[in-house]
C-alpha cells in the first residue's frame, strides 16, 4: 500500500514537472531567447550584465538619430538611451544593424537587444512580440500627395474628399508601421512598399504613386528641406490617427518598462515637433 502510494506521488510529481517544463518552453520570450536557461530577463539581469543593449536602425533617421562623420551615433534618441543607461548605472551598447523598423523590434523580441529606439510606432502586431514604453513623442499621421493628381480625382471636390477614402497608389516604407496603418486606414488603396523614405518620395515625384504615407514630421521635413516641392506636392494630416513613438522593450522586462516610463515622464519635453523640425540633424546631407 505504502509502496503504491509512493509510486503514485512520484508519478504525479513527474507529470507536474513535465507539464511545467512544456509550459515554460512555450513562453515566447524564453523560447526565442538565448537566455532561456537563465532567469527571466528584466531590470535586475540587465544591471547584473552591466550593459544595456539598444537596437537601432542601420540607416539614419534625421532629427532622431544619425551617424556623425566618424560613424558615431548622434541624436536625441541616442541621448535618451544613454540617459537611461546612466540612470541604471551601466554602459550602453548599440546594436545598429537593423535593416528596417520591424527588424529593430525583431532584435528586442529575439533577445539580441534589451530595448529598441528608432522612431518606432506602436502597432498591434508589434505589441504581440514586445512591450512598449509610454510614447516619448506623438505625431499625427500624414500624407504627401501630388496636387494635380488628387485634384483630378477630386473632380471639383476638396482634396480631403479623395484622401479620406483614398483608392489610388500609396507608397510606404517597407518594414515600417505604416504598412499596417495603410492596410487599416486605406483598405482600398494599392500600397507600394519602398525600401526607404527617399525611395518613397522618388516614387511620388516620378508619378508611380500619387501619395506617400508617414507621420507629420517626415512630411513637413521633406517640404522644409526642398521648398520647391511645396508647389507640386500637398500635405495632409489625418487628425484622428496618431503615431505613438515609443521605446520597444523586451517582453519580460516589466520592471525595465516601469523604469523607462519614469524617465520619459521626467524628460518628456525633449521631443517636440518644432524642435525636431528645427534640428540641425534634420537637414539633408550636403
Amino acid at each position: 500500500m505504502g509502496h503504491t502510494t509512493a509510486m503514485f506521488f512520484r508519478g504525479l510529481i513527474a507529470t507536474i514537472l513535465f507539464a511545467v517544463s512544456i509550459a515554460l518552453s512555450n513562453l515566447p520570450a524564453l523560447a526565442q531567447s538565448p537566455l532561456r536557461s537563465g532567469p527571466l530577463r528584466d531590470l535586475n539581469s540587465i544591471v547584473e550584465a552591466k550593459v544595456l543593449r539598444v537596437a537601432v536602425t542601420r540607416f539614419d533617421l534625421p532629427s532622431f538619430h544619425v551617424r556623425g562623420p566618424d560613424g558615431t551615433l548622434l541624436g536625441p534618441e541616442i541621448e535618451m538611451a544613454q540617459q537611461i543607461g546612466r540612470a541604471l548605472g551601466i554602459r550602453v551598447e548599440f546594436v545598429d544593424n537593423a535593416e528596417s523598423f520591424d527588424s529593430v523590434v525583431d532584435h528586442v523580441a529575439l533577445g539580441s537587444a534589451d530595448i529598441g529606439v528608432s522612431k518606432l510606432s506602436q502597432t498591434y502586431n508589434r505589441l504581440k512580440r514586445v512591450r512598449f514604453s509610454e510614447p516619448y513623442v506623438t505625431l499625427r499621421h500624414a500624407l504627401l500627395f501630388n496636387r494635380v493628381a488628387i485634384a483630378r480625382a477630386a473632380g471639383g471636390r476638396p482634396p480631403a474628399a479623395v484622401l479620406q477614402n483614398y483608392q489610388g497608389r500609396l507608397s510606404v516604407i517597407t518594414g515600417s508601421a505604416y504598412v499596417d496603418f495603410a492596410s487599416k486606414n486605406f483598405p482600398d488603396a494599392t500600397v507600394v512598399e519602398a525600401r526607404s523614405w527617399d525611395a518613397a518620395i522618388e516614387n511620388l515625384l516620378s508619378g508611380q504613386v500619387d501619395a506617400v504615407y508617414r507621420d507629420e514630421f517626415e512630411i513637413r521635413r521633406v517640404l522644409k528641406n526642398k521648398p520647391a516641392l511645396n508647389v507640386p506636392l500637398g500635405s495632409a494630416v489625418i487628425v484622428d490617427q496618431k503615431a505613438l513613438l515609443s521605446i520597444a522593450i523586451c517582453d519580460t522586462c516589466s520592471k525595465l518598462q516601469e523604469f523607462i516610463n519614469y524617465h520619459i515622464g521626467v524628460t518628456r519635453a525633449a521631443f517636440t515637433l518644432k524642435g525636431l523640425l528645427d534640428s540641425e540633424l534634420g537637414r539633408p546631407a550636403r
Binding site: R147, A151, P159, A160, S235, V237, V239
Partner: protein, 440 residues
C-alpha cells in the same frame, strides 16, 4: 433759426473738406504712403493703430446710412414714373459691365501668361514662400467620418447666407449684405403702407441720412491722414521677396487693374461730356478711400456725394444703385479670381483654351457673388469654386494669395468702387441743368 445758424457752419465744413480733399492732396498722400511703404521704415507699425482708428470712425455711420438711404431710394424709384426705365438701364449696364470686366480679366492676363512661364528659381522662391507662410499643412481630415463632420463645422450656405433671419444680429455683426436685403424689403413695405395709411417715417429717414452724411463729412477731413496711415503699413507688409516670387501674378494684376481703373473714369467722362481729368480727380477720393480702408461699403456715402454733387450724375440711378451695387457686385474680385486661376494654371503647367477662358470668366463672376457677406481673407474661400473645376489646388493658392493680399485687396476695393460708380453714370448720365444750377 437753428437751421440758419447751422448752415454756414455746414458749408464751411464742406468747403474745408473739399479743400483738404483736393485731388492734388489726395495724390500727394498716395505718393507719400507708397514711398513710406516701400522704404519699410520701422515706425510704420505705429501707423497701423491710427489707420484702424480711422476705419472704426468711418464705420460708425455706414449701417445707419444704408438703412436710411436704401428705403429712400426704393421710395424714389416706386414713386417716380421713370423708375422702370432707370432700373432697366441700370440692369443693362450692370450686365454689359459684368461681361466686359470678365472678358477683359480673362483675355489680357491670359495673353501675358501665354508668354511668361515660371522658371526653376521662381518655383523655388514660391515654394519657399509657401513653406514659410504655411506653418500648418494644406489639408486636415479624419478617417473616422464622425470626426470629419466635426472638422467641417456648420455655416450658412447659399441663399441662407443673405437672408436676415435676425436683423439685430446682422446689425451687431456688421453683416452688411443681410442689412441690405432687410433695407430693400423694409423700404418696399414702407412705401406700400404709406400709400394705404398716409403715414410714413421717410422724412425722419431723410434726416438720419443727412446726419450720417454730416458725420461722414467730419471724418472726411482726415482722408489724407487715413490714406497714409492705412496704405503705408499695408505696402510695407508685402516685402521685396514676395514681389520677387510673385511677379508673375502681380504684373497682370497691376496692368489689368490699371487699365480698368483708367477705363471707368474715361467712360464716365464720355457719358457726362466732361474732361476725363475732372472725372478722374473727382473719383480719386472714393477710390482711394477704398484703397486705404479696403472696405467698399465705407465708400458708399463718399461715392454718392461725389457722383451727385461733384459729377452731377442724376440722383435716382445713384441712390438706387450705389449702396446695393457696391455691396453686392464685386468687379475687383472677378478680375482677381480670373488672374489667380490663370497664375495657378501656369504654375501647375495647365493650359487654358478659349472654352476654358469662357468658363473661367463665368465661374469667376459666380464666385464673386459667393463672396457676399465675406471680407478680408475669408473672401478668398470662393476661389475654390473657380480653381477646382480646372483641377487646380485651392490649398496651394491660398497661402500665395495671402502673401500678395495687402496689394490685391487694395486693388480689388478700388476696382469695386470705381466700376460701380461708372454704372449709374452710364445709366443715368448728367443731371438736368436745373439741378446743376440749383446746386451751384
Amino acid at each position: 433759426m437753428k437751421a440758419g445758424a447751422g448752415a454756414p457752419m455746414d458749408n464751411s465744413l464742406k468747403a474745408l473738406s473739399r479743400s483738404i480733399n483736393r485731388p492734388s492732396i489726395t495724390l500727394a498722400a498716395i505718393v507719400l504712403a507708397l514711398a513710406l511703404g516701400v522704404m519699410r521704415l520701422p515706425f510704420l507699425q505705429y501707423l497701423r493703430p491710427v489707420g484702424d482708428f480711422y476705419i472704426a470712425l468711418l464705420q460708425i455711420c455706414v449701417l445707419p446710412f444704408l438703412l436710411a438711404t436704401i428705403p429712400l431710394a426704393v421710395r424714389s424709384a416706386m414713386a417716380s414714373g421713370s423708375a422702370p426705365g432707370v432700373l432697366r438701364s441700370l440692369l443693362f449696364w450692370v450686365l454689359i459691365t459684368l461681361v466686359a470686366v470678365a472678358a477683359i480679366s480673362a483675355i489680357i492676363p491670359s495673353l501675358f501668361f501665354g508668354y511668361a512661364s515660371p522658371d526653376e528659381k521662381m518655383i523655388t522662391n514660391i515654394g519657399s514662400l509657401l513653406g514659410r507662410s504655411t506653418d500648418n499643412v494644406d489639408v486636415e481630415f479624419a478617417i473616422d467620418a464622425r470626426q470629419a463632420a466635426e472638422i467641417k463645422g456648420a455655416t450658412d450656405v447659399g441663399i441662407f447666407a443673405v437672408i436676415p433671419t435676425n436683423i439685430f444680429a446682422s446689425l451687431s455683426s456688421n453683416d452688411s449684405v443681410r442689412v441690405l436685403v432687410f433695407a430693400v424689403l423694409f423700404g418696399i413695405g414702407m412705401v406700400l403702407t404709406e400709400r394705404e395709411s398716409g403715414h410714413s417715417i421717410f422724412e425722419a429717414l431723410r434726416h438720419i441720412q443727412a446726419v450720417c452724411v454730416l458725420i461722414f463729412d467730419w471724418f472726411s477731413l482726415l482722408v489724407p491722414i487715413g490714406i497714409v496711415a492705412l496704405v503705408a503699413p499695408q505696402v510695407a507688409r508685402l516685402g521685396p521677396d514676395a514681389f520677387t516670387a510673385l511677379t508673375l501674378f502681380a504684373y497682370p494684376l497691376l496692368a489689368t487693374s490699371a487699365l480698368l481703373l483708367l477705363a471707368a473714369p474715361t467712360l464716365c467722362a464720355f457719358a457726362l461730356h466732361v474732361s476725363p481729368a475732372s472725372v478722374f480727380g473727382a473719383l480719386l477720393r472714393p477710390v482711394m478711400l477704398g484703397a486705404s480702408t479696403r472696405n467698399s461699403l465705407i465708400c458708399v456715402p463718399l461715392a454718392l456725394e461725389t457722383l451727385k454733387n461733384d459729377l452731377k450724375v442724376k440722383n435716382e440711378p445713384c441712390d438706387l444703385y450705389i449702396p446695393i451695387g457696391i455691396a453686392t457686385i464685386r468687379f475687383g474680385t472677378i478680375l482677381y479670381f480670373v488672374i489667380a486661376t490663370l497664375f495657378m494654371g501656369t504654375l501647375m503647367g495647365r493650359q487654358f483654351n478659349l472654352i476654358d477662358l469662357g468658363l473661367l470668366a463665368l465661374f469667376s463672376v459666380g464666385a464673386s457673388f459667393a463672396t457676399l457677406g465675406l471680407s478680408g481673407l475669408a473672401a478668398l474661400a470662393p476661389l475654390a469654386i473657380v480653381l477646382r473645376p480646372f483641377g487646380l489646388s485651392y490649398e496651394v493658392a491660398v497661402p500665395l494669395m495671402i502673401i500678395i493680399d495687402p496689394l490685391a485687396d487694395m486693388l480689388r476695393t478700388m476696382l469695386n468702387v470705381a466700376i460701380n460708380c461708372m454704372i449709374p453714370t452710364l445709366a443715368g448720365g448728367r443731371a438736368a441743368m436745373r439741378t446743376t444750377q440749383a446746386s451751384l
